[in-house]
Amino acid sequence: MTSAGLAMHAVPENQRTESAACAGLSASFFPGSPILSVRDLSKSFGAVNALKHLNADFYSGEIQAICGENGAGKSTLVKILAGVDRPDTGTTCFDGKVCTLSSSKEAQRLGIAMVAQELSVCPDLSVLDNIWLGSMDVPFLPRRKDLRRRAAEALSLLGAEHIALNATVGQLTIGERQLVEIARMLTRNARVFILDEPTATLSDNEIDRIFVALARIKRQGRSVIYITHRLAEVFRICDSVTVLRNGEMVGVSRTADIDRKKLIEMMLGRPFIEMYPEHGYTEGEPILRIDGLCVPGAVRDFSAVVPRGDIVCIAGQVGSGAESVVRTVAGLVYNATGSVRVNGNPMRLGSAEEACQHNIHFVSGDRAEEGIFSSLSVTDNLVATRLRALSRFGFLNPKSLQAEALRLAGWAGVDQRRLRARADDLSGGNQQKLAFGRCLGGTQAGVLVLIEPTRGIDIGARAEIYQLMRGLCAEGYGLLVASTDLEEVIGLADAIITMYRSRQVGSYRGKAINMQDIMADITHPLK
């Protein structure tokens, strides 16, 4: 086990016999048989294979981390375990018996509870109702007193007594909503608890309370599956770690037998920086200058400079205000104040049209909602912002549209043979390239502002998107990126601005960029 110092248990590639389906794979590591195990699990979304013949086991009385880069398949795996998504192939076993997790109701019946990665609370309902939402313990006519008591217990376990049970969830902060969701999980009388990045929006204090609660669950002999990006948390509370990469199982290890560096190597499967192109550090003249930007309730006094040829990232957790800064620059926030200058020219805030005229283009991370026109063709998507330039007296020439689409497709790396395909037939990565293509190709280089440019995109396509972004820098564009993905921020950025709870905390350039400081900034700035 200690050979090569890695202490990793290699997982057989093709364990597909039904008879062995429920036997533990790594019995040498763990006491007893697994409570939950999956065999030969595959799942694809359209053209993307999110999971490829995955095998994994989870044990009682353990806190088990699942680690992996974005797009490694962690969330897909736990969504299948919680019955939210259904696998294409493969078997799941609960407590030694083969089971079909056909719905989240079924998972709940077996005793599996989950906190999903996306915030899953209903903003119009009260805290109490949200905590008991979907619970099978609630009879058709709920006994309120009992439910209130148990909900209050769960909240106080998390140190969140200040959240009133009657409050409407829509009025809570993002962090409080997350606590409500965790409280919901605690009220479920489950044997397996799954938490998918539960701490992304929480403060250190709140995180400590959650860890206490998780330790309690572990002592009760129940199982916790914990997904996190923060490796420190893995070493702090987890007993073992399962590493996924590209939809495949890479290995399992006790956390005691592995160190941070090795874990990162396992997750990446290659030297850290390779995926990201060379940095630029052109220090060109400023193309975008933001001064004293304020958005009521979201951003307080934000200032930044984006030089031509550089990528400036705003790092911050969900709700930190980083997204709002980018949306404001894109002209999508109507009530922002402050000054934004493009090439020295002041821009009126609150009009996307005006932003486009200043050659500021916006690529959203939420492709379906805001990024692409999914029911239209690739051509229509690409030329969407070009129509004014390509028309005379409001009339379009189909030939020039076609030519322009071809040119933009070539630039953004979209397959030129698929110009007639519908945009929603493309993979996530190609859709994102489409969104890029729409923004490019003006007569002169401008500013590109992005939110989560690689959200939900598989690794290969991510590298291409990063190349594309760096290529734009070479063209003379200045890029402003809001991202919650720290690895991406550090790998990509020439300069980083950190934000915490609407405020700008620090700024870093070049060699001053380091993970520890940035992580500290975006989680607890006033230490």
Binding site: K105, S120, L125, L133, G134, G292, Q504, S507, R509, A512
Partner: protein, 346 residues
């Protein structure tokens, strides 16, 4: 000023009742001391109106609370009226039961198509509206069918306890049951959850499809009860007689605080919205305003609430206030309170 307004409009369920009080006062002033507004006969009229619009508004409102829109209420109302009148000459109860069954089946059919094929409710219920409307044309042979049980016709509208009637009492009971179900049962909570955030509802284990189908069945059921009793009361059924209920029904529902995006509103609020429209209708008639005013009033209600619920209202108000030279909002605290830590370059 806007602060108070905002707080007032924040409680969507209270909104219609506040408007109701306002309307009674205004009508009282408009009445000019003739004593025509606050009478038992006006109250009876209001409740009769309530019985006509109420079930449709409730049906529409429930579908809106779950984030859908049931356009078919107009069709089901006609169909149920025709079925009740045609089948109810022997036993009115049997006629009504058959009408209600037809309404519920209509809702079931639409709900199933919608969830099975993953279609938007507006398209399916538009098809349903035309189909059920067409069915009532087909059943009646495009004529008005008289109801031969005059005793029943008079009975459902006969005043009870001065201001009520069998019809209005039924409507009130429907609202009470709906209020209870939505506010006090798991089903009601799940319904609101599906309307509030459908993805979250799915993830926590609510069977969204079942809730949607159930809501459309209930919607058909409520509409059919309303349509059947209304046709009994009119002692006649025709495919066109009840055509103009969709608009007042929708007006009452959104006035009652239901949002088209779902998750908001309560049956009690819808009842308030229906009462507002009924009060306006009866009150204006009582003080002698010609009938066209009802249309204008309904239009005004729909325009007002429609714009107030518009997604970009606050943006336009902000731009407008800035354009006329007001400072829309006080700026946030100054930079001195913010910790900014600059790192050395390189």
């Amino acid at each position: 000023m806007t602060g108070y307004l905002r707080a007032f409009f924040a409680n969507r369920t209270a909104r219609p009742f506040a408007v109701l009080v306002l309307i009674v006062i205004v009508l009282g002033i408009g009445d000019d001391g003739h004593g025509r507004v606050l009478t038992t006969s006006t109250a009876y009229d209001v409740l009769q109106q309530f019985a006509t619009i109420g079930p449709v508004a409730l049906a529409l409102g429930l579908s809106m609370m779950v984030g859908e829109f049931d356009l078919s209420v107009g069709g089901i109302l006609s169909l149920a009226g025709c079925v009740a009148v045609m089948a109810g000459s022997g036993s009115p109860a049997a006629g009504l039961l058959l009408a209600v069954t037809v309404g519920a089946l209509g809702g079931l059919l639409q709900g199933t198509i919608m969830t099975w094929l993953n279609l938007s409710s507006i398209g399916v219920t538009l098809g349903g509206l035309l189909t059920f409307g067409g069915l009532s044309y087909f059943l009646t042979g495009n004529t008005t069918i008289g109801y031969d049980r005059l005793d029943v016709a008079l009975g459902v509208n006969a005043p009870l306890l001065g201001i009520f009637s069998a019809r209005s009492l039924t409507a009130i009971i429907l609202f009470l049951v709906a209020t209870f179900v939505v506010s006090w049962t798991r089903f009601g909570r799940d319904l609101l959850a599906v309307g509030s955030d459908r993805r979250a509802a799915t993830i926590v284990g609510i069977r969204v499809d079942r809730i949607l189908i159930a809501v459309f069945v209930i919607s058909g059921l409520l509409t059919a009860i309303g349509g059947g009793l209304l046709s009994y009361g009119l002692a006649a059924a025709s495919p066109t007689a009840l055509a103009d209920t969709l608009v007042p029904g929708a007006a009452a529902a959104i006035l009652g605080g239901v949002s088209l995006s779902g998750g908001k509103g309560r049956p009690i609020g819808i009842a308030g919205g229906v009462l507002v429209l009924s009060m306006l209708h009866s009150g204006l008639t009582a003080i002698g305003v010609p009938p066209f005013a009802h249309w204008i009033v309904t239009a005004a209600v729909l325009f007002t609430v429609g714009i107030l619920d518009g997604e970009e209202l606050s943006r336009r108000v902000y731009s407008f206030r800035r354009a006329v030279g007001q400072r829309p909002d006080t700026p946030p605290p100054s930079a001195s309170s913010i910790l900014v830590r600059q790192q050395a370059d390189h």
